[in-house]
Amino acid sequence: MVTVSAKRFRHLCPRNCFSTCAIISTVENGRLVRVEGDPEHGFTRGRLCAKGYAYPQLIYSRRRITVPMRQYPRGSGHWHRISWEEALTTIAAKILELKGRYGSLLSVCLNKQSGNFGYLHYAVEGMFNAMGYITRAEGNSCWSAGLDARIFDLGADRQSDPEDMALARSIVLWGVNPAWTAVHQMHFITMAREQGATLVVIDPLYTATAAQADYYIQVRPGEDGALALGVARYILERGWQDEDFLREYVLGWPEFRSYLEREVSVVWAAEKAGVAPEAVAVLAKLLAWYKPAAIWTGMGLQRHTNGGQNVRAITAPAAMTGNLGQPGGGLYYASQQTWNLLKYNARDWPPPPGATGWVLWPGVVGDGAGDGLEPVAGGGSRPVGAAGVVAGRQARAGDPGVAVGHRPVNTNDFARQVLACTDPPVKMLWVASRGLASQDPLVTSLEEAMGLMETVVLVDHFLTPTARFADIFLPATTPFEEWDVVLSYWHYWLGINQPAIAPVGESRSDLEIAMHLSAKMNELSPGSCTFPTSGSQEEWVAAEFTPEIYVLADIRDYRELLDRPRKLAWPRVSWEGGKFATPSGKYELCSEQAQKCGLPSLPVYVPPAAPSPAYPYRLLTSHQQLGINSQFLHLGWLGGSERATVLLPPGLARRLGVRSGMQVCLYNASGEVVLPAMVSRQVPEDVLLCYQGWYGPGAPEINAIVGGLMTDMGSYKTGFPAPALYDTFVNIYVL
């Protein structure tokens, strides 16, 4: 008889997701046999999403790469196994050779994003910080326009405890589909509804969340601002605004009021938004009379050329009705309010003395992370050169009067900006936590930029579309094979991630790769990298904890989190007492900061980008249920039966003679994509829908035709605007 000794371990899902689930794994005879939710976690409550339950397949997938490999020639698909020694020597020698050739590391570029939010994964940034100054893909493709909007209005991106949404009397889910993308929140929404709360879902798509709603309002894409301004006008017409709140806590009400009276009518707003005037009335009534009202603004609606402005317009009626600073109500988006409670020990390492870097425009240094944690001073007005690259020049740290940093390129216009970097040019690229070849706007433009690179390193689990451009593949561990700590951008819970199994194959964590590469760099050129070359992963996790977070979690040692996660004693209610973080200390309907960034000071109406006769249909590329960007969807357990499809509304399908299952071609000036069609009542007329993500090897490249325009906001906080992905227009023909 075989004796099985099962052991259980605690984990945190580090993906770019609201829920940041606490997971418990079961290991039998050294093999992880299953995962389940951690019932001790008050937000995720012992449940995972479908993606989370598929982790065992991710860990042991036959397609997972667990040894270092080299592709020669690049793009050929001819990969051969190499040793870590060979991989690291090749990479270190290349970095040092480029340093010799150009007198700096600016020809080395890092492109990392949100594939793993674990704090030890900031070792990638840390390792390059410790070598000197490089070229870095900065900005954020996800949420930056909405983030700036919130900062102009509120002064900081803070929000209340999402568990308290259960106390709301009205809930407005504005362009967000939590049934798919934040399923744990649906429990708290359901709780509120069972207490009699009214749920409104506003979305161009009739989503799974919309199917739950008491009221569904099908807004025209990009016209959210018009709808919100109509609501503001309706409230004003009936005198339902909270005059006390406006007088005490809001700046710019007279100006906004006069704008509403002058420029906005309910009929106009409803017409623009493509909704019945009754929809405007329902929203106004709920915000004014069914308080507290919670408004959760999604990220899709800010992926427009007027996206930031739309978010400002949506938040205005909440301020007018005083729905801020009370338990159960307020504005939800996503927030990194607790992220600075950890130390960023893995990230913050100094360059070797006298390193040569990039001089940004006067008085400004790079903010270090590009993750939107610190405002980029003067953002929105940075002098730019060719292709919008931030202007600057190469200089040595320590030169008098000179502050040097990394050379930033916009991650959302990566190919074009990298090509425009000439002095020195970019010759090496390191890609981690990132699937740029499926997720970047206009992915086909990457081809030329990648041709520039003498060496491309990809750290990943699978041969993603990005692997086509890579020379060296370094196999990464999964969360089940490493220590880590992750904080949520949504809930207040703190947990810890411990390894359950030994690394599969020869895979290593980002932190281990950083330590080993630093050792190799110093072996070849002593003093060339200040990143530590030793220390256990657990010691590195311990070093991330601060006295402040221990107090908030009411623990004395991080190891207490191995018993159960803790809820941080972070303020439950944001903006209590009407104290805002803006320059005026009030909610700023009229924002001088916005004006300084070349934007309207008031949340006025800005029309969305419009289709042209050549490309008459708007293409939306919303988030998948079974994937997070390039992650998960390609796994057989999840996407096995899924294929990339284009969803068409019935009317348009009739006009074009398209039936479900037929092959259609979507095209615009950037390229074309062939996909099977599916006729769906969930999509409004004149809109096509492809759920974005990587569907697995050989899947169509939807992003070949997506992108081109930029959002109005984003530069203030993250340094760069984001792609206006939902302002993509296409035409279609039947094959």
Binding site: E36, Y53, V183, M186, Q212, Q218, G636, W637, S680, E685
Partner: protein
Amino acid sequence: MSSLRWAFLLDVNKCLGCRSCEVACKNYYHLGESQRYRRVATVEWGNEGRDGLFFLSLACNHCESPECFRVCPERAYRKRRDGIVIHEARLCTGCCTCVQACPYGGPQYDADAGKVGKCNLCVGLLDQGEEPVCVRACHTEALRLLDLSNPDAVAFAAWVPGFPDTRLTHPAVRFVTSCGGDWKMGDHR
């Protein structure tokens, strides 16, 4: 007093179609690549200009008159007193007669194992007083267990649109539904 008879109860008004139940089952039982003992179907409906959308999370329905049980040449199926239909993998030759006979897609063939498998209502967990894996994974408590011998069970619907005809096998599944009742839609163009 009649004895316990288990059935799944799906609240169609609450099911989000999130598919946690589906993958939680795969994760727990290490199902074959193509096997999904529980599957979530999307039902879109339209009626006189009104549209609706709901989800059906369905597994083996542990029928009163199970076709799988009737047709299996190896007698690999049995039905317990509490209604649970058990498939004995050790007796299965993978002939797939049951796969073809079941109207609900309950039994599924795994090419790697060369055998059929299906939902056994987590009988091992149930016998220890625990809930099935899919029920535990449900975020909104849309999926629950129901005792059909309870007189109150008649209050639930035995059929919803999108579900196959129940007359042949009398499936032990019930629904909470108010199909088409409770939604309103913006007048979009």
